[in-house]
Symmetry: C2
Subunit: 369 residues, 2 copies
């Protein structure tokens, strides 16, 4: 399976789309705003660029895509007004995701978004120019030294591929308590290769002093098979195993399916950054968000469509994982899989407290790397 060809969030604007089922991700962007704001404030104040180039890597499609970058631009515009700079920078925003991402839906929403944004910013603000960039962030995406700021939320935990040598991960679809140590090692090694390549590419693309804020689905624990990060996939594996036992899925198919993801701990992130050597860590923390968020008070009211009771974690996971499952198992089993998954998830959420963990790291491109 080539991850670059099959991984993408569910497109369109329908009931199972990512656009309508990404409230957790929006909550996370909102939670991490103080860190992103701090980083872009420091960047703008120290460089005062005429043209500010921002890239959002793994932007997906839907309201989150434009929310993150528009908040960054608002911060810069407030700073400009406060500091009395007459000349606003122009903004160039690059929205990146894999080629299978639904860019058409983003692009169709842009004219009305740009009109709204220009009204909100008011007179004197610089123009915002948007571009979509299809491709894997585990390779170069931009010319050298052209970016000022890189943002990525819930993207970097996706690996460039399913690690090799995970054939022995029978009954599991991700790292799990019952995974052999060789599987855990293979996942970790793939993360190290991928994340190190990610840092190297961004170091080439960022201007000196440029900044990057990454929010990565991760864990607090040092145990890679910790329930913190693996439970959500273990429950999906449980569904698939049930369906194998009922003859609905071939056992061989199940055994060869593994999720191309690695949910790192903060110290694993720190280790790779220091080893790669191009960035200074300005800030590093872990936060958590409940699977079944119900506190949407912080979330911008323009995202009301999320809040009309339609949210549940099963739909969110479906928007994320459906293309991977379809590519491996075909689409005939999908409704059954997610109907069973929804039941299991509802049951667990009612009985235990379950969270997604976010590793947030704010980085500065070293002057002389």
């Amino acid at each position: 399976m080539e991850v670059i060809e099959v991984l993408h969030m569910n497109g369109g604007m329908g009931d199972t789309s990512y656009a309508n089922n990404s409230l957790v991700q929006l909550k996370v962007i909102t939670m991490t705003k103080p860190i992103t704001e701090d980083a872009i404030t420091k960047l703008y104040s120290s460089t005062l660029p005429k043209s500010l180039v921002i890239a959002d890597l793994g932007c997906s499609s839907g309201p989150n895509t434009l929310f993150a970058v528009s908040e960054l631009i608002k911060v810069v515009d407030q700073l400009r007004r406060k500091s009395g700079h007459d000349q606003s920078p122009e903004y160039q925003v690059f929205l990146n995701d894999l080629p299978g991402n639904d860019f058409n839906t983003i692009f169709k929403s842009l004219p009305s978004f740009q009109k709204k944004m220009s009204n909100q910013l008011g007179a004197g603000a610089g123009s915002c120019f948007f571009a979509g960039v299809p491709g894997s962030f585990y390779g170069r995406l931009f010319p050298s030294k052209t970016l000022h700021f890189v943002h990525s939320s819930y993207g970097v935990q996706w690996l460039s591929k399913v690690p090799e040598q995970v054939e022995s991960n029978k009954g599991n679809i991700y790292m799990a308590k019952t995974s052999p140590p060789s599987v855990l090692r293979a996942y970790h090694a793939q993360f190290q290769r991928d994340f190190s390549m990610f840092l190297k590419c961004r170091a080439e693309e960022l201007v000196l002093g440029g900044r990057m804020v990454l929010t990565i689905l991760g864990r607090r624990s040092e145990d890679p098979s910790s329930k913190e990060c693996c439970y959500i996939w273990e429950l999906l594996a449980m569904v698939l195993n049930e369906m194998v036992s009922k003859g609905l899925i071939e056992e061989e198919k199940m055994d060869s399916f593994n999720i191309p993801q690695y949910t790192p701990s903060p110290s694993e992130v720190k280790f790779e950054v220091l080893k790669e050597g191009s960035f200074i860590i300005d800030y590093l923390e872990v936060s958590e968000v409940n699977w079944s968020i119900n506190d949407t008070s912080e979330i911008n009211s323009s995202y009301d469509q999320f809040c009309d009771g339609g949210y549940n974690v099963a739909k969110c996971m479906r928007a994320v994982a459906e293309p991977l499952l379809v590519s491996h198992f075909g689409d005939a089993i999908i409704e059954e899989v997610f109907s069973r998954y929804r039941e299991i998830l509802s049951d667990r959420i009612s009985k235990e407290s379950t969270c997604f963990f976010n590793v947030i790291v704010s980085l500065i491109k070293k002057e002389w790397s």
Copy 2:
């Protein structure tokens, strides 16, 4: 009707898609190659940029989209080798079209295209970074002074809107011999406003000495209602009028439909460029291509899918005009319209020689505009 919302070529890869019905447009890009090559050669030789930024405006979707820019990059790479420059520029390519364009189809074809291109260029060539830019080229699309080269083929004849005051154009859908003089004046005035805005925006976006090659569907004659440019639409109007008389289309609907296009003469193009004042005209010519091209020998063999007898001008016009017609008349009449149009076109092509006329202009951004 907001042109920005409804105008786009037919998406996807199906039988009626633009991707599979744009052989005339490919032929035109191939015909104008010597002029484009000359312009990029002069640009590269005089500036030797580390990063060469190229924009293709009105790129549509399909093989033509990537063909035009890949030819430009090949020219630069050959120059670099000949002149013994070890260091290749990196290439950043912006593909622009209106937000309704099918960018997803372009983006999905990029990984294999980039692989093929990198093989063709061989070792030492700079990386090519692609981005999609949705929006109207009658407004700013890029930050100031960031582009080196702008290319646009068969884009600029599209107006930003149907001119006002063309209500009296009854029985016609474009400029025609029977159009009142006020309609011809309204079309011309809209072209002047739009093209002048186009030049102004590009002048802001291009670096000093930057270059632009535009191929515009146009005419040789100074008469705006000349058969040279109007006949193809007059025949479509004939179909729609027949369908009105048979009660298949409401007369009122027909009378309120007009094509947002203006096909200028070379002297009209020259006049606007001189009036706007930011550009020097390096070259200006008119060429022509037969409606029913059958000489495909010049066309790159990788575009063989075009050459398998599937081409006809009715399908080409459908790929271009269907979204406009659907937005105004609904989709129920479309099959009937194009079945009748195909018959009329076949009949005329068998009896007379009919051509599309191309106005090609090569421009240099003045150093001190």
